[in-house]
Symmetry: C2
Subunit: 235 residues, 2 copies
């Protein structure tokens, strides 16, 4: 029986999916795909948008609602339902895929379902994808980290002093979920205007935003889904 | 005139190239590709192997020798020659690509050529690829980093105490070029057998090695091209 495949879609630009991921989607009978409720009863799904641009038939895509609430239990409940539905299709001999934006093993809450299936002895497979920070680096033409430099990825909570300490010890710093540390990032830019700041939203999509001017960033309000790459200019 | 494209090939498994990268290779007139001299006048090129498996015509692949010596100047000389040859083809109206394993902007020495072309005002484009640690995580079915966890990537030089400090402050640690810190990694495993150690070589290729048993790793000699993902078991 085919394993249940966790297919990484990459960061948003459809053609940044891997060939392996695309083939898995083309071969799947049923593809579980998260959507997020927005205002007026509508829903958004960047994952479904990517698949439709790759000509995956809409009738094979099975959307499930993933609430964006702070309560993790709401998301876990949604995932438990996907788990049960995927398992039942798998037992019926169907080829099942579950998709994630970016890479399904890198800050991807859907990995909860992978672990639950694995614990139940169900064959699972994870197909790698491009993380957002890698796509951002390519968009900016950056050498994100080179030679002896290190990379530290921080999902949201940090201070200006910590960023300073990391940069001074030859780390490239990638900060995600910037809305959680806006003031500290602004303070870091004021303290260290000499660092190299590259800010990204929605890389590779029509909504893309790319700002490399620290002064402009100093007053910008960051949304949750945004990303900053900070490097020492003198490396 | 088309930009000179820096195409990331991914970590070694041919189908982990992106669709965008594959199309760029298929459209290129000339693809510069590194090979490494080995014994008896022979050369190896994992990059060329990947492209041949993707049915890129061999006569469009232009191999250049990239010495593995410790002297960085030898590699830079090789890159300077590629720069000149690529520039001349570009001026003749040819579509030129230059490839890199993994991601061309993440610990990729070929980025030197990108920067030199950019400084000369030549249009360049970087196409993202899967870094080896992301492919390794997928191979091992790992959630490399999740929620508030951080990621630190260390290219070779570290100590057991530093790894300990990072793990205890909720970092996942990825160490590359393990041959440079074999003794410290062995010492860390003896000090902290309770951490989760996942060791990888040549992920996705016939030479793949994947070991998740710390005891087995404690005596293993690591080659240069190898990778370890260390996590706290209790996260």
């Amino acid at each position: 029986m085919s394993p249940i495949q966790f297919v990484s879609l990459g960061p948003g630009e459809a053609e940044l999916i891997t060939l392996k991921g695309l083939k898995a989607l083309q071969n799947a009978d049923c593809i579980f795909c998260p959507e997020t409720p927005v205002r007026d009863g509508h829903s958004l799904s960047r994952a479904a948008d990517i698949m439709l641009r790759l000509d995956i038939p809409a009738n094979r895509i099975r959307r499930f609602s993933l609430p964006m609430s702070k309560q993790r239990t709401d998301a876990l409940n949604a995932y438990d339902q996907v788990y049960a539905a995927a398992l039942s299709l798998h037992h019926a001999g169907k080829k099942v895929a579950i998709v994630a934006e970016g890479d399904a093993g890198f800050y991807s809450s859907v990995h909860y379902i992978y672990e639950k299936l694995q614990a139940a002895g169900i064959p699972v497979e994870q197909i790698a994808g491009i993380p957002a920070f890698i796509a951002a680096g390519a968009r900016g033409g950056l050498h994100i980290a080179s030679r002896e430099e290190r990379l530290t990825v921080i999902p949201g909570i940090t201070t200006a002093e910590e960023i300073e300490r990391l940069i001074q010890s030859q780390n490239t710093v990638v900060i995600m979920k910037l809305s959680q540390c806006t003031d500290e990032v602004h303070r870091c830019i004021r303290l260290h205007p000499e660092y190299d700041y590259r800010y990204f939203e929605n890389v590779g999509t029509p909504q893309e935003k790319y700002i490399s001017d620290g002064q402009q960033l100093e007053t910008l309000r960051f949304p949750y889904f945004s990303l900053l790459i900070i490097r020492h200019n003198g490396f």
